[in-house]
């Protein structure tokens, strides 16, 4: 079969038309959320790699563990005695033991 000549090919090529870009392309390149960025604080999500997440969990656990005040065992302490509890003797009453023999 005889091939097309240049003009015939040009005519045929012009038959094949492509569509224009869809409106959704603009939404994808300029997402609407960008204008309301603060919404991200409520609806956004953050992708964290698993090793990083595990490391953070371990660090938090260690921090909690070591930040607790050390509980020392309460040993039985001797009662404290203060000299302020002593009072001078008001009336001296000497008792002689074994003096009647």
């Amino acid at each position: 079969m005889e091939p097309l000549d240049e003009n015939e090919l040009n005519q045929l090529l012009s038959e094949w038309r492509a569509p224009s870009a869809p409106a959704t392309l603009k939404d994808r390149v300029f997402p609407r959320q960008r204008a309301r960025w603060w919404r991200w604080l409520f609806t956004g999500s953050v992708r964290v790699p698993v090793p990083v997440a595990l490391a953070v969990v371990v660090l938090i656990a260690l921090w909690i563990h070591y930040s607790k005040p050390a509980v020392r065992p309460t040993a039985a302490q001797p009662p404290t005695v203060s000299l302020t509890d002593f009072e001078p003797v008001r009336q001296l009453q000497p008792v002689v033991l074994g003096g009647q023999k």
């Binding site: 005889e2 000549d5 090919l9 038959e15 094949w16 300029f30």
Partner: protein, 170 residues
């Protein structure tokens, strides 16, 4: 690149980028993905465009071309990107519309011939602009374009009738 400049570039070139991706990929969804990536690439790396080396349009079409070929390689990992081989699939001339037949014929060209033909015939880039976009010599571009047209003239020959191209009623 300021935000207003980027928006203006998007409005001016979005159709060209999308059309080229659509013709290369044959899929609206893939073309939209690629067009999105092209403009996000421009947004993230505006410094890669050098106005001294040409206009923004061929630059964007060059990015589109690279993304199309990257997809093609991902989908055809075991096929070599040859310049010559024509992967012509059978086209049902009786049942298909003429535009569909032409589209199928162009898409059956090897990617390196197809991209040059589309950039030249449909996006009306000069040979020098195409050479920059596809990172090849101008002579190579001419040669690919010539082979692409030769292949199409043979593939589309069945559409020819004795008095010109068949059912030529525009």
């Amino acid at each position: 690149m300021r935000n207003s400049e980027f928006k203006a570039a998007f409005e001016e070139y979005k159709d060209a980028v999308y059309r080229f991706a659509w013709r290369m990929m044959g899929s609206a969804a893939a073309a939209e993905d690629i067009a999105q990536d092209v403009f996000l690439s421009l947004l993230r790396h505006p410094g890669r465009f050098d106005p001294n080396r040409g206009n923004l349009r061929p630059f964007l079409l060059g990015i589109t071309r690279n993304l199309v070929l990257k997809r093609w390689r991902d989908e055809h990992q075991w096929e070599e990107l040859l310049d010559e081989q024509v992967s012509a699939k059978p086209i049902d001339l009786e049942r298909s519309e003429k535009a569909e037949i032409v589209g199928a014929a162009v898409r059956s060209l090897p990617p390196l011939q197809r991209e040059v033909l589309i950039l030249f015939e449909y996006e009306e880039l000069s040979l020098e602009e195409i050479a920059r976009a596809v990172e090849a010599e101008v002579g190579t571009v001419k040669s690919r374009l010539h082979r692409a047209r030769e292949n199409l003239r043979r593939m589309l020959a069945p559409l020819k009738s004795s008095n010109g191209v068949r059912s030529w009623n525009r």
